[in-house]
């Protein structure tokens, strides 16, 4: 009997994983064998302890992080596909192809090697931006930084409720990251300085020419047009942009908003950039705009009634977000506030004549369209 101790089967016995024959053999053995019984009590206690473990709730902002990661992944896959399409393999003979392919593989491996996350203790060769601690202990990747740190390409900078940090954006500007924020360095090219913000608040001050600095949020891309601004990203991906100097454009799937100094703009997941408005607009005007941006066409009348001359910025954007007679109503109100130039007609605007949009914009006193649209060829086209 004691030659056949059952200690190896005790957990399986406890969990009911043994056949009835084996289970009754173990039960019989336990009745007679003090040694196995002691061990069973030990295992029972260990199991009782393990059953104290409780399922945890995942943080709410995990999806925002994941959406950014998916977007980065898709962008990478698209670039790879475009590179493959443009390579024109068909005219190569097989030898040239082989040499070329080898070069591409070596280049790709080198790129992957240089840009991968290094093992602990190994020097980090990835391009990086300098980070200065302002308060608390910000974290880069998994490491807390003391006074200064490096934010390598692909890595996250995270602040908790007590920490703040400042990022040097290459040679072109600075970004201050406020508490409870999370931001990733996505690109460090000369013409494409790019961060992705999953949550929190940042303040950017950029002195480079327009279109050098970008911030991806879960619901839109913020394109710097030479300015200073704050950007807040909520747990659900909704973001609020507040421009304090210069211009910023918000863009998502062809829908765009141009936001000047003293104006704000909200961008929402699945809806993209909302309509920009000046921060001194009345609360009633702002809530009607929120309703319109989230699908309530009825609130347009309130917006048009309350609009001041300064709100021509908002109304001009509304032209691009409406069509048919709804656009006609916006045209009429905007014409009362800022009369259109001679070459701009109601029929032309209703038929989406982009030259007319540009001409009218010039009358708003917000700068020349040539300047702010030089980085982008198309008008906002999405309409409701």
């Amino acid at each position: 009997m004691f030659g056949n101790h059952v200690h190896k089967q005790l957990s399986a016995y406890l969990h009911g994983e043994l056949s009835s024959e084996d289970a009754s053999r173990v039960a019989d053995h336990l009745r007679d064998c003090q040694r196995c019984r002691t061990e069973f009590e030990e295992i029972e206690f260990g199991a009782q302890m393990a059953s104290q473990l409780q399922r945890e709730q995942a943080p709410d902002d995990l999806w925002a992080d994941l959406e950014l990661a998916i977007s980065s992944h898709r962008r990478g896959a698209k670039n790879a596909e475009m590179a493959q399409r443009s390579s024109g393999f068909s005219w190569w003979n097989w030898k040239t192809g082989l040499v070329g392919a080898t070069v591409v593989v070596i280049a790709a491996l080198t790129f992957v090697y240089l840009n991968r996350q290094p093992e602990p203790g190994e020097p980090d060769n990835r391009p990086s931006w300098e980070v200065t601690r302002l308060d608390g202990r910000p974290v880069i990747g998994k490491q807390r930084i003391a006074e200064k740190g490096k934010l390598p390409l692909g890595e996250w900078l995270t602040t908790d409720e007590t920490s703040r940090a400042q990022i040097s954006v290459g040679q072109i500007g600075e970004v201050k990251l406020e508490p409870n924020s999370r931001i990733q360095l996505v690109e460090t090219l000369e013409d494409n300085h790019r961060l992705a913000m999953a949550r929190g608040k940042m303040e950017a001050f950029i002195w480079a020419p327009p279109r050098k600095f970008f911030v991806e949020t879960p619901s839109a891309l913020a394109v710097d047009l030479g300015c200073s601004y704050t950007l807040e990203v909520a747990e659900d991906g909704t973001s609020l942009l507040h421009v304090t100097m210069g211009w910023v454009a918000f863009e998502w799937q062809g829908r765009e908003s141009f936001v000047p100094a003293e104006a704000k703009c909200v961008t929402r997941p699945k809806l993209g950039p909302g309509t920009p408005y000046f921060k001194d607009a009345s609360a009633e005007f702002q809530s009607a705009l929120t309703a319109f941006d989230t699908g309530s066409i009825d609130s347009l009348d309130v917006i048009l009634t309350l609009a001041r001359k300064r709100d021509a910025l908002t109304l001009w954007h509304l032209l691009t977000r409406t069509d048919g007679e709804t656009r006609g109503k916006v045209f009429d109100r905007l014409a009362q506030l800022i009369p259109p130039p001679k070459k701009v007609t109601r029929a032309g605007v209703l038929s989406n004549d982009r030259t007319m949009f540009d001409l009218w914009w010039k009358e708003l006193g917000l700068g020349d369209t040539e300047w702010w649209r030089m980085w982008k060829g198309d008008l906002p086209t999405q309409s409701r």
Partner: protein
Amino acid sequence: MNELHNEERLIEACRRGDRESFRQLFELHKDRVWTIALHFIGDETAARDITQQVFLKLFTAIQQFRGEAGFSTWLYRMTANACLDEQRRRRRFLSFEFFKSDDGELNSMDKQQAQQFKQELVHEDQHAQLELSAAVKSAVKELKPKLRIAILLKYFEGLSYEEIANVLGCSAGTVASRLNRGHKELAKRLQHLRNDI
């Protein structure tokens, strides 16, 4: 049954690239991936990375999922692999693993140093250690990775030995043996709480 059917429809929609369905699938499973990652690795930043990694992989590989192994098994397998990979990556850090011999015991020459290191950590976390669940969590964290993952799959997900074996790519006998050792280790480490429950 309905739940299973709903999951199948979601997976099918995800294969077609429907982002909203992917989000629903994420909402359905995020807590279980997060819980395993957090208890396995022990810190939130790494658990966040692991969870993101698992779902990103799921998103990119869902086209290849053919359903032979069952979606949950596939998801648990990716989670377990991501946890074990992270553990391997961390091996160069000075940790308890460093002081352990293959059987999980401390080498005698390092025992004193490890003990001191442990006491410092225990001291830092003394308040949390007063809580039973925190003590269990901490004890689980100190288990060898292969024992730890088996314990987590058993107690969080309630998987059978056969299911755990499928996830980990080993036999049900090996799972039984790992759980046995895991239980004994936990009992040893939490001996002082015997009278508390």
